[in-house]
Amino acid sequence: MSEALESDASLLVVVLDINASAWARSPLALDDALQQTIIFINAYLALKPSNQLVVLASTRSECRTLYPAEPGSISDGEDIRVYEQFRAADIAILSGVRALLSSASAAASRAQTEDSEHSLISRALSKALCHINQMRSSTLDAVWPRVLVLSAGVDAAAEYISLMNGIFAAQRMGVLIDVCKVAGAGDSVFLQQAAEISGGVYLRVDARAGWSLLQTLLFGFLADHYTRQVLYLPGNERTDFRATCFCHKRIVDIGFVCSVCLSIFCRMTPVCSTCHTKFAVRGGRVERPAANGANNGTQGTARTISQQLSTASTTSTLV
């Protein structure tokens, strides 16, 4: 890919994590955070008339596209005091968040589900990449895409593989994933990796109150691809990519990896505990098993592997 020029437009996909229980515990109210985010979005739209915007919002059960809104969903009324593009975006985001929150609370009271701070971030990221792919193929102009995730919830272990797939796809497409951790305790290890691998910025806002979120957004995330070539952006200390073994959850420097399912162990075992494959013994004669024999990586246990991996592999990158 060639280098970004000053005149090139950007495509920004904002992913809002509006998980109600995560926001309830945050010192910064969701209302205030939304207000500041909208100011940031307006600033982005004002930077260049050709800048494009997509806004997605995600709760723990649903992920919706808020902007561009479906045609006809926004009234045509005009407000001469507001720039038309700002108005369309602001109304779409605010009404969309409201609708999504009410449907989420209705669904929660109906299903009596456990209060959880997991949001569907990997679904939102997948949708964001679909949007970017579609916009790229429909225009001939150079558009530089990036994703900004405003994260509030905590990492969901089951999302690990799908989130990783999204991150690698973004890396291949040259999409930067910026992450702003707005609320919630501690850092998101998954999203730290997302920013690290795709070349984006990961920042955590200590959002007590006031305007610190807006300040972080404007200074850390407004810069486009072209500007980032000359800026030294904050927060790029390197994430540790060492693995944790599946058996004792210890961080390992040298590990043993099952050649069938890629599970990581800290010591040699005769049978893989994830896929139940029996390993050939070193030193002895290596026999190739008979056709469709004892090798358990095949059809039958595939689902078991999938289930175990989705929980076990999460820990492989936690440090």
Binding site: S126, L129, C130, Q193, I264, E287, Q299
Partner: protein, 398 residues
């Protein structure tokens, strides 16, 4: 060798005839007859420009879109069965560097088109198989020469491809023997593969190729080939008997596609796999105030990765430590391979009209003509292809 000698066309002939020949078996002259019972050379010359029709407004855009979406649909359907796949692959790529590769029937020349396609292939291969290894072998003047050793760094292989000098005839047997020799060092749990890009219809071999074929089968090496001119009987037979694929590329695009077929890891046949515990080192990033040379390229740099066993510094991951031979990876490299174990299901095309007016679940535009069988959401063709080729992850199911 002379199996289908009448298929070897002179270079002046148009390239599109190859398509008709690919699947014809060696069944005598009858096998050369077309669908209407006549010989292919008796058919009327196909004019590709007749396929493109102007629409009412005089534009050819809709016609071209139709052709390309037909083409994409063909690629849409993939093997999604959950089977054991050879994730750790060891592959030798053989490139024909004989005189015949300077022919200009594939633009700009066969060798330049192959080099470009191989560079693309190598990048794609390591992107999808980060813990695999590759080596390059060239064959010319009746000899085979190893261009690069088995390694996991794409730069090692793409660099040696440039500025190839063409000479003489290729030797398939020598190339296969050298490839087999290279793969001998590969561990038992790894998949062993040879992929050849051949341009010559002849080969200059020192011995009996049948013995080489038997040795290949015994060693469990899978041979796949892309030929740039025509189908050669012995080439095809080697591929078939070792479990690989044979393809004839009619043009640069065909060559690229045939190579892309070799990128996803192959399913392991029941009897062939040996499972092992592989020792791997998770190298830690190190940066110093003084530049130090890396063990792999002997280049000075401030940053690098330290081998946890011997402390040697390497500049890129994944790789094998040059001092102690330990496989060095990062946890995300392993995560990248998980998707081959659980491939995304193919989407089902919905009947005309149903769901076409609904918005695509991925991009929110267009008609949702394809549905995911697991979550039931609808997607447009563009998103369908993107999800299966790049993302590997259905937005509705996650």
């Amino acid at each position: 060798m002379a199996g289908n000698s009448n298929k070897g066309r002179s270079n002046a002939e148009p390239a599109e005839d190859d398509d008709a020949y690919i699947d014809i078996d060696d069944t005598g002259p009858e096998g050369l007859k077309g669908a209407d019972g006549g010989y292919t050379w008796e058919e009327e010359y196909k004019r590709s420009w007749d396929v493109i029709q102007e629409d009412a407004s005089g534009s050819i855009q809709s016609s071209i879109t139709g052709i390309s979406s037909q083409h994409q649909r063909k690629r849409r359907l993939r093997d999604t069965s959950v089977v054991q796949r050879g994730i750790m692959r060891h592959m030798v790529v053989v490139l024909d560097q004989s005189d015949v590769m300077s022919t200009r029937d594939i633009h700009p020349t066969r060798i330049q088109a192959s080099t470009a396609a191989l560079e693309h292939f190598i990048g794609e291969f390591f992107d999808q198989n980060p813990i695999s290894q590759l080596a390059m072998v060239a064959t010319k003047d009746g000899l085979a020469e190893r261009l690069s050793e088995l390694s996991g760094n794409p730069r090692d292989h793409t660099d040696v491809l440039r500025n190839a000098a063409l000479a003489g005839e290729p030797s398939l047997q020598n190339a296969l023997e050298l490839g087999m020799h290279t793969l001998r060092a590969a561990p038992v749990h790894g998949e062993r593969e040879i992929v050849c890009v051949m341009g010559s219809l002849t080969t200059c071999d020192p011995g009996d190729i049948e013995q080489t074929l038997a040795a290949l089968k015994a060693a469990g090496v899978r041979v796949s080939m892309v030929h740039l001119a025509a189908e050669v009987h012995v080439f095809r037979r080697i591929c078939r008997e070792t479990g690989g694929a044979f393809a004839v590329a009619a043009d640069g695009e065909g060559l690229r596609e045939a190579l892309m077929e070799c990128v996803p890891p192959p399913a392991v046949e029941g009897g062939r796999a040996v499972a092992e515990m592989v020792q791997m080192g998770f190298a830690a990033k190190a940066s110093g105030k003084v530049p130090t040379p890396c063990a792999c390229h002997h280049e000075l740099g401030f940053t690098g990765f330290l081998c946890p066993r011997c402390g040697a510094k390497v500049c890129t991951l994944p790789t094998e430590c040059d001092v102690c031979g330990l496989a060095l990876v990062e946890a995300p490299h392993l995560a990248r391979s998980y998707r081959h174990l659980f491939p995304e299901e193919n989407f089902v095309e919905r009947p005309e009209g149903e769901g076409a007016e609904r918005a695509c679940f991925g991009c929110g535009r267009g008609g949702a003509g394809f549905g995911c069988p697991r979550c039931g959401e609808g997607f447009c063709l563009e998103c369908d292809i993107f999800i299966h080729e790049t993302l590997h992850n259905c937005p509705g199911c996650t």
